[in-house]
């Protein structure tokens, strides 16, 4: 008898629980997001060193450079062109392979000042996370300097984002740039 009453009480409790869970009362406030495909405000262009391939819509690129046992420098490997307003830019890697193959330093510069971005040395990689300014309707360049081969027979591949941040906001755009050192 007692066990039957307990079972009944348990059943009622569970039923009430589900009833309460199902009957949630809430306010609904609506957010509407109108999203439009736009033309890029920053475009990529092969630099005068002619070591880059720029892909459709000029928003991604591959920089391919052959390394050897002498120090090499390519100051104009890729052009970054602002077609409108200013933004802050930096390079940040998100994957890499074969780091032991080369040593090199990758920088952003505008001919008068330079900002070191990524360094590969002794099989290790580091980045500064330093933003530099891309002025409105201006061009800055990706430079690869002090490139030297450490070991033969491998390729260093470095996948990086060119992060472009709108000033005074946390809105940013990411372009994929792949560095390949053969």
């Amino acid at each position: 008898m007692i066990s039957s009453l307990l079972l009944l009480a348990l059943t009622m409790s569970v039923t009430l629980h589900f009833h309460n869970a199902g009957a949630t009362t809430y306010d609904a406030i609506l957010s509407r997001y109108y999203t439009e495909v736009t033309s890029p405000q920053v475009t990529l262009q092969n630099g005068t060193d002619n070591v880059s391939s720029v892909y459709t819509n000029d928003t991604s690129a591959r920089i391919s450079i052959g390394a050897n046992t002498s120090l090499l420098t390519y100051n104009y490997s890729l052009n970054i062109i602002s077609n409108n307003s200013a933004c802050e830019v930096k390079l940040e890697y998100y994957s890499c392979t074969g780091l032991e193959h080369v040593n090199t330093t990758i920088a952003l510069h505008d001919n008068s000042s330079s900002s070191e971005q990524i360094t590969i040395s002794g099989g290790n990689i580091s980045q500064t996370n330093e933003y530099c300014t891309l002025a409105s309707n201006a061009t800055i360049y990706i430079g690869v300097s002090n490139l030297i081969e450490n070991s033969q027979g491998t390729t260093t591949t470095l996948n990086a984002y060119l992060r472009m941040k709108t000033p005074n906001t946390t809105t940013y755009t990411l372009y994929v740039i792949t560095f390949e050192f053969t």
Binding site: Y26, D27, T35, E36, T56, N57, T169, Y172
Partner: protein, 185 residues
């Protein structure tokens, strides 16, 4: 005077039958009256402008329209596109993101988009819920409504939006997504 018993019997039978039908047809019911008082009140959970609310957007307390961009073959991230503020000084409220509509859908225009992702960030920028819209051919698909997450009294969370389009996307194509922020009372 002659009484026609046969006719009388028929008449009585007819009368009884009519009464029976009338009784059965009459629905017997109790009347319970419910009185509801509906008052106009404002929600405690409201939208607010945030660092990355784009120019041209409108943000009202209970409705907002944001104008966002997407680029071919590149990702745009609005870390704090709009804020969700709990103005209640006394009570925490559970909130969630719930899909309402996406337009257009089922047409070739959809092919101009890869994904649009919505993240609900707490005050320390940690993701506490996500609602992802992805495309396959001409169709959008969306993940389930998010779980309820606690919005502490007098604090705000932020909606982060990430857009990505394929390399073949053409400028001026657009999509409108409507999402409800549900707030438990």
């Amino acid at each position: 005077m002659n009484i026609n018993y046969k006719k009388s019997l028929k008449l009585i039978t007819l009368l009884i039958t009519s009464l029976l039908i009338a009784t059965v047809s009459a629905t017997v019911y109790y009347s319970l009256t419910m009185q509801s008082t509906v008052t106009v009140s404002s929600t405690y959970v409201k939208f607010i402008n945030a660092t990355d609310t784009p120019t041209g957007s409108t943000v009202d307390y209970s409705f907002c329209t944001l104008s966002l961009s997407t680029l071919p073959n590149s990702t745009i991230i609005y870390e704090r596109a709009v804020g969700v503020n709990n103005t209640d000084a006394a009570t925490d409220h559970y909130i969630r993101l719930r899909h309402v509509s996406v337009t257009p859908n089922g047409t070739a225009t959809v092919g101009n988009f890869t994904h649009i992702k919505f993240y609900l960030l707490d005050s320390s920028n940690a993701t506490v819920a996500t609602l992802n819209y992805t495309t396959s051919g001409n169709d959008w698909s969306v993940t389930s409504d998010t779980d309820w997450v606690l919005l502490v009294k007098l604090t705000a969370m932020y909606i982060k939006v990430e857009t990505l389009s394929p390399a073949t996307a053409t400028a001026s194509n657009a999509v409108t997504i409507t999402i409800s922020v549900d707030a438990q009372q």
